[in-house]
C-alpha cells in the first residue's frame, strides 16, 4: 500500500521519456508493435526503439490524417500500431479519422500523444490542447489513459500493447518528478490509491498527480486526512474506487491539466451523481485557451498549482 511518505521524487524526467522507454520494452516483447510518427520523432524520445527496429518505424511526414488511416490499415492486418505526435494533432486535427477508421472500425490502434496541456509551454495555445480527454472519452470503445510520471508512463505503454482495442495515451513535455515506484503494477481501468484518508478525496490524473501529492502533504500537516487516488485511466473509470472514496469522505476534488468540461472532473461527477452525489471542486482550466510561458508559471496562472488544490480541498470540505 502506497502512502504519502513513500511518494518522494527521485529525480526528474519527462513522461515522454517514459513513453520512449515503454515503447522499446513493448517492442522487445511484441514483434508486431509498429511506431508511426508525423514529423515529430525527435520529440517522442523513441530513438532507442527506432534504432533497434528501423523496419517497424514509419515516418508519415506532416500528414496526421493519413497516419491515422495507415495505422488503421496496419491494425487490420494484425499489427499493433502506435501513432505518435503532439496531443493536439493526435486528436482535434484527426477526430473524424479516429472516429470512423479506428474507433467505429474497432481497430487496435494506440494513439500516443505527447505535449498535452499547458505544460507544453512556450509554443502557446495553438499547441496546448485542453480538450483532448473530453473528445477521446466520448468515442465509444476508446480507452483513455493519462499517466503521471516517467515510471507510470513506461508501464502504461507496455500495458496498452497487451490490451486489445483503441487507446488514447496522453503524456507531456516537461521534466517532471518521478515518484511512482518503478515496480508499481499498471492495471488499465484500476485506480491507484496513493494515500488512505477520511476527510477529503482528491482524484488526480497526469502531471497534476504530483501537485496533488504535495497538496496532500500540506493538508495532512494541517490535520486534514486526505484520501488520494490516482486515476490514470479516465475511461473506463474505476467507478467502485471513486464511489467508495466519496462515500467515505463526503468531499471530492478532481485535478487535471485539462478544461473543466469533459475531462476527469466530468467523469467523476457523472459517476458520483448516479449513486453517491458528493460536493466536488474542479481543479482544471476554466474553459479557456492557454498562452505562451514556462510550464510552472502557466500551471500557477491557470489555477493548477499546489495551493489551488489545497484551497479546493478546503472549499469541498466546507460544503459538507
Amino acid at each position: 500500500m502506497l502512502s504519502l511518505d513513500k511518494l518522494q521524487s527521485t529525480g526528474k524526467k519527462a513522461t515522454r521519456d517514459g513513453f520512449g522507454a515503454g515503447l522499446k520494452a513493448a517492442g522487445d516483447k511484441h514483434d508486431n508493435v509498429i511506431m508511426l510518427t508525423a514529423d515529430l520523432r525527435g520529440s517522442m524520445k523513441s530513438e532507442d526503439f527506432i534504432n533497434t527496429y528501423p523496419d517497424r518505424f514509419i515516418q508519415c511526414g506532416i500528414s496526421e490524417a493519413n497516419m491515422m488511416g495507415v495505422a488503421a490499415g496496419l491494425a487490420t492486418s494484425g499489427k499493433i500500431p502506435m501513432t505518435t505526435t503532439f496531443a493536439n494533432f493526435s486528436t482535434g486535427r484527426v477526430y473524424d479519422q479516429i472516429r470512423q477508421s479506428i474507433a467505429y472500425s474497432d481497430k487496435n490502434v494506440k494513439i500516443c500523444a505527447s505535449h498535452a496541456g499547458l505544460t507544453l509551454g512556450e509554443d502557446g495555445a495553438t499547441h496546448q490542447i485542453l480538450e483532448d480527454i473530453g473528445m477521446m472519452r466520448m468515442l465509444p470503445g476508446m480507452t483513455v489513459i493519462n499517466p503521471c510520471d516517467y515510471n507510470q508512463t513506461k508501464a502504461a505503454v507496455q500495458a496498452i500493447a497487451e490490451h486489445h482495442g483503441p487507446v488514447y495515451l496522453r503524456f507531456g513535455r516537461p521534466g517532471w518528478p518521478i515518484f511512482i515506484p518503478e515496480d508499481q503494477k499498471f492495471e488499465i481501468g484500476k485506480a491507484l490509491h496513493l494515500n488512505e484518508g477520511s476527510d477529503v478525496s482528491i482524484f488526480a490524473t497526469g502531471h497534476l498527480v504530483w501537485h496533488a501529492v504535495e497538496a496532500a502533504r500540506e493538508l495532512e500537516a494541517e490535520g486534514i486526512s486526505v484520501d488520494l487516488i490516482n486515476i490514470h485511466t479516465i475511461k473506463p473509470l474505476d467507478e467502485a474506487a471513486v464511489i467508495a472514496s466519496a462515500k467515505k469522505t463526503g468531499a471530492v476534488v478532481s485535478c487535471e491539466e485539462h478544461n473543466k468540461y469533459g475531462g476527469l472532473g466530468s467523469a467523476i461527477a457523472e459517476c458520483l451523481s448516479k449513486s453517491a452525489p458528493t460536493f466536488q471542486e474542479f481543479v482544471a482550466t476554466d474553459d479557456t485557451f492557454g498562452e505562451s510561458g514556462k510550464a510552472a508559471d502557466l500551471l500557477d496562472k491557470y489555477g493548477l498549482g499546489i495551493k489551488d488544490i489545497v484551497a479546493a480541498a478546503k472549499r469541498a470540505m466546507a460544503k459538507k
Partner: protein, 281 residues
C-alpha cells in the same frame, strides 16, 4: 481465361439487387452503385484471390477496400453473391437491427468489410497501411481501394497520394471512379478536379486507364495492375457512367442519392436481366 459473359450475367443481377435494395427502404445511393457493378464483379469473381469464409487480416489474400462507402449496395450485393453472407440479408439494407448498414462497417460484424467508410477520403490511407503490412509480412498479394472522383476533393487523399510512392507501395492499386458527378452536380461545376493523370504522375504514381463499364477491358487492366511490381503504386483512372444499366439514371447526378418509386423501380428492373435469382423481399 475470364468468362466475360458469365461476369456480365453476375453484374446484371448485382444491378437488380442495387435497385431492389434502395427501392425497398426508399433510401441509398443507386447511381454510383450501378456504375461500379462491373468493377466489383470483376474484382471479386475474377481478379482477386479472396476467401468468403473471411478473416479480418486477409493474409495471403488480395484486399479490396471501399472508400466511397455510400455505394454500399453494390458492395453488399457482390459480397453476398460471392458467399460472404446470405443473399437474403440484402433485404435488410438500411433497416434497423441489420448488419447491412447504410454505409459499410465492421461494427456489426458483416463478413467482407474490413473498415468503416462513409466519411470520405479515408480509404486510401487505410489501404496504404494494409499494403505496408503485406510487405512487412512477405505477403505478395495486392490491395485495391476505390474512391469516387468527387472524393478526390478531400485533403487526406493527397496525404496518402504522397505516402504511397514515398514508400514504394507497388502492391497498392487506387481506382478512381471518374464518372464526373457528385451530389451537388457535375464535378466540373462543383469543384474542378483537373487531370487525375497529371496529378498522380506528378506525385510519383503509375497511371492506367480503363472503361469500368467494359467488363473485358476492366478485367484485363485490373490484372495488369495486380501483377505489376516496379516500385510504384498504381492509379487507375476509371471512366464509368453513373446509373449504368438503367436508362433514366444514366449520366446524371440526380440519382446519386435518391431511391426510385414503385413505378420507376419496375421500369429499371425491366432493363436488367435476373440471372442468379432475386433476394426475397
Amino acid at each position: 481465361m475470364a468468362d466475360i459473359q458469365e461476369l456480365q450475367r453476375i453484374a446484371s443481377q448485382v444491378r437488380r439487387d442495387i435497385i431492389r435494395q434502395v427501392h425497398l427502404c426508399q433510401s441509398g445511393h443507386p447511381g454510383g452503385s450501378l456504375g461500379n457493378a462491373d468493377l466489383l464483379t470483376a474484382l471479386y469473381f475474377e481478379v482477386m484471390e479472396n476467401d468468403p469464409s473471411f478473416n479480418m487480416e486477409g493474409k495471403g489474400e488480395d484486399i479490396f477496400l471501399l472508400s466511397n462507402g455510400h455505394i454500399s449496395p453494390v458492395f453488399y450485393s457482390v459480397l453476398a453473391h460471392r458467399g460472404y453472407f446470405p443473399v437474403k440479408e440484402l433485404a435488410t439494407f438500411r433497416q434497423i437491427n441489420s448488419r447491412v448498414q447504410g454505409h459499410p462497417t465492421t461494427h456489426e460484424g458483416l463478413p467482407g468489410i474490413r473498415i468503416a467508410s462513409g466519411s470520405l477520403g479515408q480509404g486510401p490511407s487505410v489501404a496504404c497501411g494494409m499494403a505496408l503490412a503485406k510487405r512487412m509480412d512477405g505477403d505478395d498479394k495486392t490491395v485495391f481501394v476505390l474512391t469516387g472522383d468527387g472524393e478526390q476533393q478531400e485533403g487526406q487523399i493527397w496525404e496518402a497520394a504522397l505516402f504511397a510512392p514515398h514508400n514504394k507501395l507497388d502492391n497498392l492499386v487506387l481506382i478512381i471512379d471518374d464518372n464526373g458527378q457528385q451530389i451537388d452536380g457535375p464535378t466540373e461545376e462543383v469543384l474542378k478536379l483537373g487531370s487525375f493523370e497529371e496529378k498522380y504522375k506528378a506525385f510519383g504514381w503509375d497511371i492506367m486507364h480503363m472503361d469500368g463499364n467494359d467488363m473485358a477491358e476492366t478485367v484485363k487492366v485490373l490484372k495488369e495492375a495486380q501483377a505489376k511490381r516496379n516500385g510504384k503504386p498504381t492509379c487507375i483512372v476509371m471512366k464509368t457512367e453513373m446509373g449504368k444499366g438503367v436508362d433514366y439514371m444514366e449520366g446524371t447526378h440526380k440519382w446519386h442519392g435518391k431511391a426510385p418509386n414503385d413505378e420507376l423501380a419496375e421500369k429499371a428492373l425491366a432493363q436488367l436481366e435476373e440471372t442468379l435469382g432475386d433476394f426475397p423481399a
